[in-house]
């Protein structure tokens, strides 16, 4: 069994990785994206203050991917999900309000579009729905979808959902890792929260 965290961009997958690690899951990640904080950080703003927990893209194309990562937790770019070799996977897919995603992208790289990753946010529902359908059709991915907003607002409730879904974590320890202050680019009742 390989445990996966995935999402479209800027949707809380790094936070989820950090929490699951705190909850006791053995994870594998490298520093392949950590320079983003250096490149795009300015003043008090850091894109991911607590890190990205990413794995180099090349790792997902390894012929021995399954053997190397069996029993481990990895953050999987959504583009790689359908290309993973046949195995047994548990996946937590993070969702977020698309308007919040765009705002977060704009804060990350002011004045620059995120290309197709940003376009996805405008077709969020149909794309997500088709991606989920294909993941289900694989037959080897046991997926659970969590909302970023819910994880921040009621972390213990959300991590207990994972426990019920067979994730071997300490939900309380995972929940302690959620930092509400890092939920920036946040809509509350249709208005941007200052």
């Amino acid at each position: 069994m390989i445990y996966l965290v995935s999402s479209f961009n800027r949707s809380g997958s790094s936070m989820m990785m950090r929490c699951l690690i705190a909850g006791g899951m053995p994870a594998v990640y490298d520093n392949s994206q950590e320079n983003m904080n250096v490149l795009y950080g300015r003043g008090e703003y850091l894109p991911n203050q607590n890190g990205f927990y990413a794995l180099d893209y090349g790792e997902f194309a390894r012929p021995d991917f399954v053997e190397e990562y069996d029993g481990k937790l990895v953050k999987c770019p959504y583009q790689k999900l359908l290309k993973l070799p046949k195995h047994q996977y548990k996946l937590v897919f993070m969702q977020r309000n698309p308007a919040e995603i765009r705002k977060s992208m704009a804060a990350f790289t002011p004045g620059r579009s995120w290309g197709i990753n940003e376009t996805i946010t405008y077709l969020y529902t149909p794309i997500l729905s088709e991606l989920n359908r294909r993941l289900l059709a694989r037959g080897d991915v046991d997926a659970i979808i969590l909302q970023y907003e819910d994880v921040v607002k009621q972390p213990l409730v959300e991590f207990e959902k994972l426990v019920k879904a067979g994730w071997k974590i300490d939900a309380a320890k995972a929940a302690e890792c959620v930092t509400e202050a890092l939920y920036r680019s946040r809509l509350d009742g249709g208005k941007w929260r200052a």
Partner: protein, 137 residues
């Protein structure tokens, strides 16, 4: 008969645990070795054995469908490439939207501008499941 697995050997060599499993369908059998450098979950072997047995069953079924003999390639040669005009149009509109999106980010175009909103609506209304690869490749 479906494939079954049996653990034949376990040994630790150079800091790695090697577990040899024999897979057999009652007629043919072979062995495969799993290896790990650290402790795994209790169901590690069970999960692997289940997965491999399913793969081997599927492989046997697939092999059974292959006909031995000359492969008729004449049909493949005469087939003309089909141009999916709807898909080509969608790709073209997607590229336009990407450019508009960049202009919007640069402050040249407002998100509420008709050029942007009409393209967005068109892309949403004309999206087909088979276009997913245009977004996630």
């Amino acid at each position: 008969m479906s494939y079954q697995a049996e653990v034949k050997e376990k040994v630790i060599v150079n800091g790695k645990l090697l577990v040899t499993l024999q897979y057999s369908d009652g007629v043919k059998s072979h062995t495969e070795t799993m290896e790990t450098k650290c402790a795994q979950r209790d169901d590690w072997i069970l999960e692997e054995a289940k997965r491999r047995c399913a793969e081997l069953d599927a492989l046997a079924a697939f092999a059974g469908n292959i006909k031995v003999g000359l492969v008729d390639t004449s049909l493949a040669e005469t087939k003309k490439p089909v141009v999916d005009e709807a898909r080509a149009l969608y790709e073209s509109q997607l590229r336009k939207f990407g450019a508009a999106q960049q202009a919007m980010r640069m402050g040249i175009l407002a998100e509420t501008h008709e050029a942007f909103t009409s393209l967005k609506t068109w892309l949403i209304n004309n999206f087909k499941a088979e276009y997913l690869d245009l977004f996630i490749e």
